[in-house]
């Protein structure tokens, strides 16, 4: 019997159900795990996605033919029973469970096991074969407890207020931005949002997510809150002096898993780097591999080779599934042509 999921020209493909998962181009039928640009592409005839993520997906893809599933609700497509389960990456992000004749595969999409105030908690789904993302699949990537990171962001913001400087925090517009907004002490001062962030905030609110009030970061708002505000902006805006200048001489910071490594931190030339990721770290991936009970593990996105080798040496049947994004660590370097903000040197969505 053939594999339930294969790598085809347009991405992950399930021949038994004749549908793609997060295809790179328009196809007949696409199951979409979440709305980040390297997973949700325009141009497919029909989409299937989680009900929880609908508002956000529509914000990204506009008027599409979209069917939604509640968590764990099943839907038969061809020979395959499909259901979606929370992946914890961003609000509404899903793992895809596929079952045919008792054989179960799970495609994780992007996920994290660390808690997040906005995204639904990751759910372990038992399976025979797991296809896991591997963005941070090296043991140097181990995240600190998020609570401590939130505290550090609050402290940095407070120090800046005391010094009379505006705080500009660079975070991916969809996911990381709302994660941070929901986590910081919103009573401490005014919160401003870049236009791309503001748009995503609205989509989250429409989806029923409670976020603190944010004000659009125009020149007037920047002036009125000078020295007080925490501004959430996509990483690209740091490279636009024209956009940044309204904040005077702000203190800048990045929130990303890549901040774990000093070299990358310094390359950003921000004042601070907060290690806050929406992806699983090394321990997280291993935990999911173990708890899923899978015997076969496919790895995709990121540096898959070391993880594949490590799993093989430890008794798993592991292999690598190439992605269009070249399959190595370049996911953070603008390989993703993000339609909302796609500047050079931005991080991978939600990284």
């Amino acid at each position: 019997m053939s594999d339930l999921v294969q790598v085809a020209e347009d991405g992950l493909y399930c021949p038994a159900g004749d549908f793609h998962i997060d295809p790179w181009r328009g196809v007949e039928r696409a199951v979409v795990t979440h709305a980040h640009a390297d997973h949700a592409r325009w141009g497919s005839e029909h989409y299937l996605a989680s009900a929880s993520g609908e508002a956000i997906l529509r914000e990204r893809l506009g008027d599409i033919s979209l069917e939604t599933l509640d968590w764990a609700e099943t839907r038969r497509i061809g020979e395959v029973i499909v259901s979606l389960h929370p992946a914890g990456h961003v609000r509404g992000s899903a793992q895809v469970r596929l079952e045919r004749d008792g054989e179960v595969w799970v495609v994780t999409g992007d996920y994290k096991v660390h808690p997040d105030p906005v995204a639904e908690a990751f759910e372990v789904v038992r399976c025979h074969t797991l296809v896991s993302e591997c963005t941070f699949g090296l043991p140097v990537y181990r995240w600190p407890e998020p609570e401590g990171v939130y505290q550090a962001i609050d402290d940095w913001w407070r120090e800046n207020r005391e010094a009379g400087r505006t705080s500009v925090l660079f975070a991916y517009a969809l996911g990381k931005a709302q994660h941070v907004l929901a986590a910081v002490d919103a009573s401490a001062g005014p919160l401003l949002a870049h236009g791309a962030v503001q748009k995503m905030n609205e989509a989250h609110r429409r989806a029923g997510v409670e976020l603190p009030e944010t004000r659009y970061a125009d020149t007037e708002a920047a002036k009125e809150t000078r020295g007080e505000a925490l501004v959430i902006a996509p990483p690209s805006s740091g490279g636009r002096p024209g956009w940044m200048k309204k904040f005077g001489r702000p203190s800048t910071a990045f929130a990303s898993g890549w901040m774990r490594v000093r070299g990358r931190r310094r390359r950003r030339s921000a004042d601070r780097g907060f290690v806050l990721s929406d992806h699983a770290d090394w321990d997280g991936i291993l935990q999911v591999v173990r708890e899923s009970g899978a015997e076969r593990v496919g790895l995709t996105h990121g540096k898959t080779e070391p993880m594949v080798r490590w799993l093989r040496e430890n008794g798993w049947d592991a292999w690598s599934l190439p992605t269009r994004y070249e399959g190595e660590a370049d996911v953070d370097e603008g390989a993703v042509d993000e339609e909302v903000e796609a500047p050079e040197g931005t991080e991978a969505p939600g990284s």
């Binding site: 490594v261 390359r267 190595e328 370097e333």
Partner: protein, 539 residues
């Protein structure tokens, strides 16, 4: 160790010079002298040599974490910094040790060198258990000898001068040369200014700025003292209290690598400091730098090598005579004094011949004539001109406008990118180390590696191109489609058995990304060999 770790991370976290200087100054003021002197010792570039073999260190981390060694290597390739990689791999540890820096430095850094491997392992593992994650990173930097923190000697000097309330030049002088990291040394370094100086210490070197735009802005040629720019080892020759010392610009004592120069000692007046260049020299001409290189880094220089590569000290300047510091005198006056000193020495009956020379002045009727002379610099075995303002003092560091180096235009060739490897530090995770090839028939043979010359933006663009145009991977190295052509600039060329092309370039760097050129238009090996025949060192 706590305070020093904090300092390290403060320096590491910012790119702003003022913040770095403030952090350093605060540290120097607050830390106990016995610790501060160690911090200064490390910060001013001193290293614990061969404290621990990094291969062993990697294997110990593998054993302690239960990870296979290949995984440690894979992580190192990702992070690009060994000290950091190891710190990230060890289990997280909050907090830190109460051990003071002086104890860590003496017992857990310098002492490692004399231990057997198994004892070393015990100290290393014990330290991992005691230290917090942030301390481990700093400690790894200390024991692997790669302690750099984006605060160069100039910043450290400035901060210490502020903390000690001394002129920076005094501090620069006092921390130059050899001293032990003891409280006594600290006392000597920060004590109030006085006339007494340590006889062994050289002066901080005055360095030249490159003159990139030509001499148009420099005014009249008469205001400048022009010399050839020699390609040797910049050094200060000290003769004080009967002791003869030779310091390189990197502030290493190189006296014993050039034993013949010590024959000058009996005829040199006492209280003398000369600035100049050690050159390999034969039959009235300099030998190429490659020849001089053979004499470096050796414990002992044998008779054969001395005969094959004889050296001279080509003096540029006199910084001290009869014990008097002359550095504030104008260049022209120092030059006259230098000629006088060398004349006196050379006419001493017992003076060894051909060891001490004065760098000749180059005369020309004007800048244009000088420019014409510069064209022939390479054929003379020099790198161009040094322009020294005649009324300038011998200042500290690299101030603008006193000394210019007007180098001959570099040699150039167009080469094709054939291999790429990820960089380190700030360039970790990016393909920034490139190997270039030239055509030998239908084949591209490697001719040089280059790392510099591209903008950050170009590096990112090229990085993406490399990832998408990889042919094969060999560990961390990728071979790429032979499509991208770069103009390489370099300062010299010589034969080399280590390179497949048979040549080695000196200081190769990327002058231009020639996106308009096809790979087939790149330089051929025959053309490179023609350059070698014309400018090579012939050995």
């Amino acid at each position: 160790m706590k305070r020093f770790t904090e300092l390290y991370h403060e320096l590491d976290a910012t790119t702003r010079t003022t913040l770095k200087v403030e952090a350093l100054e605060r540290y120097f003021r607050e830390a106990p002298p016995a610790d501060a002197v160690w911090a200064l010792w490390f910060l001013s570039g001193r290293r614990a040599k061969r404290a621990v073999n990094t291969t062993l260190l990697r294997s110990w981390v593998a054993e302690e974490t239960g990870l296979p060694l290949w995984m440690v290597e894979a992580c190192y390739a990702e992070v690009g910094d060994l000290a950091e990689t190891l710190a990230l791999l060890l289990p997280r540890a909050e907090g830190g040790t109460e051990l003071p820096l002086r104890e860590v430095a003496a017992e857990r850094v310098l002492a490692l060198r004399d231990l057997e491997d198994e004892e070393k392992r015990n100290v290393v593992v014990d330290s991992w258990n005691r230290f917090g994650t942030r301390e481990r990173l700093v400690w790894h930097k200390l024991i692997t000898g790669g302690f750099r923190v984006g605060a160069g000697r100039k910043l450290v000097t400035r901060a210490l001068a502020r903390a000690a309330e001394l002129p920076p030049a005094v501090v620069a002088h006092r921390i130059t040369g050899q001293w032990d990291p003891t409280p006594d040394s600290w006392e000597r370094i920060v004590r109030p200014e006085d006339a007494e100086g340590s006889a062994a210490r050289p002066y901080p070197f005055l360095l030249a700025h490159p003159l990139n735009d030509g001499p148009d802005e420099l005014g009249a040629l008469e205001d400048w003292q022009v010399e050839w720019k020699w390609d040797g080892i910049r050094a200060q020759l000290l003769h004080r209290g009967g002791e003869f010392l030779l310091w390189s610009r990197g502030e290493e004592l190189v006296t014993h690598q050039f034993p013949e120069l010590q024959e000058l000692a009996p005829v040199l007046p006492d209280g003398l400091v000369l600035d100049g260049e050690v050159l390999a020299w034969r039959d009235g001409e300099p030998l190429p730098f490659g020849a001089l290189q053979r004499r470096l880094g050796r414990k002992k220089v044998g008779e054969t090598l001395r005969t094959e590569v004889p050296v001279v000290f080509q003096a540029y300047d006199v910084l001290e005579r009869d014990g008097e510091d002359l550095r504030s005198r104008p260049q022209a006056e120092r030059r006259a004094l230098l000629e006088e000193v060398v004349e006196v020495v050379s006419s001493t009956p017992l003076a060894p011949p051909n060891l001490l020379k004065v760098s000749p002045r180059v005369e020309a009727s004007g800048w244009a004539a000088l420019g014409a002379l510069r064209e022939g610099a390479r054929d003379r075995g020099v790198e161009g001109f040094m322009l020294k303002r005649r009324d300038g003092e011998y200042a500290v560091g690299r101030p603008r406008g006193l000394w210019w180096k007007w180098k001959v235009d570099p040699l150039e060739l167009d080469a094709v990118l054939i291999y790429a490897q990820q960089g380190h530090g700030r360039r970790a995770g990016l393909y920034t180390d490139y190997t270039f090839g030239v055509w030998r028939g239908e084949e591209l043979v490697p001719v040089a590696k280059a790392y510099t010359g591209l903008t950050d933006k170009q590096i990112r663009t090229l990085d993406r191109w490399i990832r998408r145009n990889t042919r094969e991977r060999f560990g961390p190295v990728r071979s790429v489609e032979p499509e991208q052509v770069f103009q390489l600039a370099f300062d010299g060329i010589r034969t080399s058995s280590r390179h497949k092309s048979g040549v080695a370039l000196r200081f190769p760097r990327m002058a231009r990304w020639r996106q308009e050129k096809a790979a087939s238009e790149a330089t051929t090996l025959e053309e490179v060999e023609a350059l070698l025949a014309r400018y090579g060192d012939g050995d």
